[in-house]
Symmetry: C2
Subunit: 427 residues, 2 copies
């Protein structure tokens, strides 16, 4: 709210003397009155102002527009800008709306583990978590020779904290399945990690994921849940963050309110992967990556589908070739596709990825064999199929992409308070 | 709900043939009727039963009582037991009640970072997060010699993912302060880590913390918030998890419902540290650790205060000697104590620890000097005092201890789905 004061107000001398500078914290007392100006309806007529904390003139964020790159180096001060204040509030609303949606629909929040020594996390790029490296912050004097090794020169993992190599999780899904097959519908909402050296506007080394898992559910239930979830949280933000959304609509991404309102009120298009390939093949457009059945969809393909073929709408693509999808997805009767689905949205690309899980023990074991994965490592995951298996399905959503989708922020590093990327983990 | 069926029901032959064994998943259809027995009011009269997923006879959790230790080795199946199902539901209710309490009071949820290369995390026992160690899960063939080093044999951190040593966070507080001094009240709710080799029933290497941070607030506001928070989430669980709380009251911790109800409805006792020392000195009791002003309170002291001196009530102790508390706590006018507070509860000990933060730049810098901490490392934390400082305060609460407090579960490893402790990070 705009504050207006005249020379009669208590403390006005501080304002006049210039001791209240950018970044200062103040305490004001006054009366809310109808505004004289045209920019706002009401303003605060100040009776008294107190300087609570003065700000050194070196305050690094000046009133003129600072670049986003520069602001990332001031991640401790950037929430004081109107853009990052708005991002923080919308992010908060999306998080709370997520909990509300799942809780009101009977889902239980499960804390999937962050550190894991389980062998079934797959061979993705993971961060190692260890106490073998002498971890002195102050000196970083860590001689390589101090790391314990066994006779042949290999690291002696038995001396590590967990007694074996341990990593940061890339997904809580497999753990969530253990709870879904015990207690019915559950969801996770926690941090996950990728040690990929991707310095792009789309990747973070540390990001938050939401992973619901539905018991006694198939792919149709899964797609319905993903759609209802997305519509629910978007509606919540539109209803509860009006001022911030007006800000984004004016300054960051014109038209975003209309686009989101539209999404919140209509069905999401569903097509099969095979239909998507047909559509791309018939497109009057030259793609860098050629399209043929069996190929992974690239960004350019996803953009064409959501932005051109379906005019800016989210689109769910289902039933992907099994060879481009994960081992745990349920095989369809055609023998060549799996019950997988991705929800694509304009600008972001894949926002949600999910599947029905293979609940049949013999199919799952055969698939692990096909992929030359070690079945022993998956003992507990297979147990879920051995003891009272149920059809179940779920999806994962990268929370920072949802924040981008709802705010129009271009770079994912601006959708999380303290972004972690290659060579950057300050603050 | 108890299911009752007679031989006329469809699918009864499966029951009779013994193919529905412990662990199996079934689908039943029937009519809810008044119960013939005395144990429940209603029961389901089954018309049709379908075996959805059979259970191998090797199902490891038999109907007879399994030990908690054994169940920890079956963390993927233990949520199917009534105890761990109830723990999961109460844990979920506490988490949601936490979000509800803070959201309804205008706090914003902030994701504090998990990985941090910041030098001001302090010298606690931290896990190192690295990609320098060749992280092959399948072979664990990681030669020590493959770790890059500089000429003098030290680890070459410049080649690590973040370009310097990085660790798992021990607290989100300092980061939360950056948002509280920008946007007013905030809270974190996320995982934190300790690499302490403590194999006890009270410690986890990975646990969830809730850390609210209040702007324009002092220690009294902080204690009032902590009390209101705790009462609110306990009331929520009593209101929303009646059946599970009856279960705990009957089987795990007799009287827990009365104790929690009592807490939810009355003020928490507040005493100063100096008063606590007096009280302990006058106690007609021999302590293993002698009591004198300036000492840290041990478990035996905390237990005496909450369980004996105040008859099983939570007690807040405030104004601790500055030398046993953290650098960031606000110095009191007496020059020897700080505006810190701990809430102690019966059986658990410290459930909440908080403080008013030192918002005065010169005091904070002097304290860092006293403790021979490197001020440069704290540049961004000091910036919060340099640019528009405000009085602020906050607290931290270990979520698993709250789960123990609300359920009566003895061991903290049974208060989280997949506990991480020395030599154990399975699943």
């Amino acid at each position: 709210m705009q504050c207006v004061m005249d020379s009669g107000a208590e403390g006005y001398d501080q304002v006049e003397s210039g001791s209240i500078t950018t970044g200062a914290s103040i305490w004001v007392q006054g009366v809310v009155v109808e505004s004289q100006g045209s920019k706002q309806k009401v303003e605060l007529k100040v009776n008294k102002i107190v300087l609570v904390g003065k700000s050194d003139p070196s305050f690094p964020i000046q009133k003129k527009r600072a670049s986003r790159e520069f602001l990332r180096t001031k991640a401790h001060l950037r929430p004081r800008t109107n853009t990052f204040g708005a991002v923080a509030r919308v992010r908060n609303a999306l998080a709370y709306a997520t909990h509300k949606f799942f809780q009101e629909n009977g889902f239980i929040w499960v804390a999937s583990p962050i550190i894991t020594a389980s062998d079934c996390e797959g061979a993705g790029e993971q961060f190692c978590v260890t106490t073998l490296i002498p971890n002195s912050h102050e000196t970083a004097d860590s001689p390589v020779d101090a790391i314990p090794k066994v006779n042949n020169g290999l690291i002696d993992w038995s001396q590590d904290f967990f007694g074996k190599p341990a990593f940061l999780t890339v997904s809580g899904q497999l753990n969530a399945e253990t709870y879904a097959t015990a207690l019915s519908d559950v969801y996770t909402f926690g941090p996950t990690f990728r040690a990929e050296n991707s310095n792009t506007s789309r990747h973070l080394a540390e990001f938050w994921m939401i992973e619901p898992e539905l018991a006694f559910a198939d792919l149709n239930d899964d797609m319905a849940c993903a759609t209802a979830y997305l519509q629910s949280v978007i509606r919540y933000v539109l209803d509860n963050c009006k001022e911030d959304m007006e800000f984004f609509n004016t300054w960051i991404d014109k038209g975003i309110i209309d686009r989101l309102s539209d999404l919140a009120n209509r069905d999401v298009v569903q097509i099969t992967y095979t239909e998507a390939i047909d559509l791309l093949s018939r497109a009057n457009k030259k793609f860098e990556f050629p399209v043929k059945w069996g190929c992974d969809l690239q960004s350019e393909h996803e953009r064409y589908i959501t932005e051109e073929a379906f005019g800016g709408c989210p689109v769910i693509i289902r039933d992907y070739p099994k060879d481009i999808k994960a081992f745990y997805m349920r095989q369809n009767d055609d023998g060549r596709t799996v019950a997988a689905m991705d929800m694509l949205v304009p600008k972001i690309g894949e926002l949600i990825g999910g599947s029905q899980r293979e609940e049949r023990l013999e199919y799952l074991e055969a698939r692990l064999d096909d992929l030359k994965l070690n079945k022993d490592a998956y003992w507990w995951y297979l147990d879920l199929r051995r003891y009272g298996s149920v059809p179940h399905a779920g999806f994962g959503l990268g929370f920072e992409r949802l924040v981008q989708f709802a705010t129009g922020m271009d770079n994912i590093r601006d959708a999380i308070p303290f972004p972690r990327t290659p060579a950057s983990a300050e603050f």
